[in-house]
Symmetry: C2
Subunit: 435 residues, 2 copies
Amino acid sequence: MEVDIGNALDGALGLTETDLETLDESVATAHERIERGRRDRDHGYAALALPETVDTTAIRETARAARERAVGDGELDAVVTVGIGGSALGAVTLTDALAAGDTAAFALDNVDPAWVDRRLAEVDLSRTVVNVVSRSGTTAETLANFLVVREAMADAGVDWTDHTVVTTGDSGNLAAAAETHDLPRLAVPEGVPGRFSALSAVGLLVPALVGVDVDAVVAGGARAADSLAPSLFDCPAYAYGATAYALAERGAAVNAVLPYAESLERYAEWFAQLWAESLGKDGRGQTPARALGVTDQHSQLQLYRAGPADKLVTLVRVADGPDRPIPATDLDGLSYLADGSLRELLDAELRATEASLAAAGRENVRIQLERADAAAVGELLYASEAACVLFGELADVATFTQPAVEWGKAAARGLLGEPTDESEQVREKRELIVD
Amino acid sequence: MEVDIGNALDGALGLTETDLETLDESVATAHERIERGRRDRDHGYAALALPETVDTTAIRETARAARERAVGDGELDAVVTVGIGGSALGAVTLTDALAAGDTAAFALDNVDPAWVDRRLAEVDLSRTVVNVVSRSGTTAETLANFLVVREAMADAGVDWTDHTVVTTGDSGNLAAAAETHDLPRLAVPEGVPGRFSALSAVGLLVPALVGVDVDAVVAGGARAADSLAPSLFDCPAYAYGATAYALAERGAAVNAVLPYAESLERYAEWFAQLWAESLGKDGRGQTPARALGVTDQHSQLQLYRAGPADKLVTLVRVADGPDRPIPATDLDGLSYLADGSLRELLDAELRATEASLAAAGRENVRIQLERADAAAVGELLYASEAACVLFGELADVATFTQPAVEWGKAAARGLLGEPTDESEQVREKRELIVD
């Protein structure tokens, strides 16, 4: 993986290479803090130790056991993650990027009733493994969907205990259910917030179930871990994190993330949670806007180039991969496509977008993977996490907490059951309705 | 449809009802300009006349003819839009929201080779209709994919001329191909930019092919058109557009759009193009961040509530629809879910999110549909367009142009064929690579 920050310099926001050289002293200090936290497995920093601490053997074994209970030697039709936010996005990002084969993998990460019904109707529940993921075992959406899935299995004459794995903390509802019903179970690691758990059991079990080489994913993470260094000029992850921070300080309120690869579309979604929930504190933070190249170039480039100079645009380029030639044509005016391929076109669009932004002084950074394989994706996720942690250190925010999410959870629980202070406030909503 | 702007007032950005009353004079003036443009079919404003001018009979007839050529009396396996940006998003938004039945509908709106191959492999090309959409007939991604699809059909022994419809301008490549091969053809309407074309042939042909009641969609659009009025306090579309503008002027750089309905996930994407490409000009504009309730609440709410006070959060609520009870449970601590339903939970989460934001002074607006049916979705799309046009009038930007997109297109063409000024600039890219 390499990071090219050339187009982030001397643009509208005025960041210079000298500024980054000055910032590099703070990067060195932050790196010391990160290294100490990683070594001591401090809360949050423990996520950056996952490539060393994760037990992929246990994950592969649990996957094997879950598969055998569900289908014996038969084929799995689907693997469903019942979880939301950080309990789902890591697994989905990895399976969307890397899964081959015929087993579907998706998350029930919403409680829209028609959609839940449809998704359940699409799979053969007798050939499905469900992974219920919640550290506390109390997340309302996850538990509600778990109850719905159990009922759907009962209706289909399927014994849910043969088709369910839980990934949860040491105690709570799901741990108790696993105990009672002797379900395969994996632990949500201590000290690792959900959004940082992609390289743990939380993120890796479902990929393992659908044939992703999770050891290669972790090896990629280890490669990124090994590349952490005291200078942003020596470490791609820090080059990205420090540049994003420096631009944010100068007014880049938005970080628009465009992978130029359909297989990485979910990466932008995963990144959005990582960035928003980790850095959005104390009135600070940088708003992630997820997008997809080349598609969204046609919908967003006007704004990125000519709108407010308040953005970093992050382009993820995959240098090599499968290709398809563009067939010869009798159509007029398309000679420039002749002898070309879809990958060449995709790449030309990426380079043109970078240049279009640069010509208007709009800052952009290229993150480049050689290929979008398991190791590269593992490296990308780890490097993104390290970049985020560095940004948090430089901005002096509590990267690993998410206090503002709790208010809404309490309010929702209150609305559904006994009133809480928060739910009272909901009932007092100010209205000004125009209809 | 109703719009509730109560939570947009007296928050961190300091917008008051008095401010809106003052702004309402400008709204009245803008409304006059919009009405005149709509009546005279002026460039761009013509989009707001579509509910009157669109010929749904021709669209339904073309759909019927295309279907008959492709499969006779048989079943359609898939309808594929070959287009990008505004040439695809309207159709995809409507089919994702409204299509029932077994015919797949999707867009080839990217040139990622592996993804194009996979999507084409998923469908039975002998039972597929392809709609190639490009006003100019020269959009590189669209034409490249068209050539790839033609080749795939040839490889599958399918006569592409029996399975292809074109939606294009009066002249150009695609018009010529339609002429030569006698293809069913619809016109991209004059004066209607792609991102405003959902309620025209561009957006409606594919929905018509998969059984969406396009007349109901247009009737919903007409309902929104009829509700345009000289005061933001009398018109939901203007209430939204004026509030968004007033907040943007006070620092709401970002507009985060969260439909609380999976069927409207694509609406957020469509909205993002509408908002970004129309308003991102002259250093102005408001960056759309697309999201989805309740899912993204768990990933973004921390930032929205506790990050910078630089946002409008737009929540789309569907008041009524299918539901599913949450089954009774023996699990501890979940009594608050008892006797509840998934829709009640979804709704409690939405209300809790609104209140969570409001308690922290973070501005949010609720757009509410009674049901997410064809008329309501048509109304929502039209109202969003009218809100955008109003914002553009108030901000004094050229809402209907997209000059910044052209630079990148020229550069990409240059990179693929003969050099252009733009492509020379691409080759001079400044690099600072960290690996």
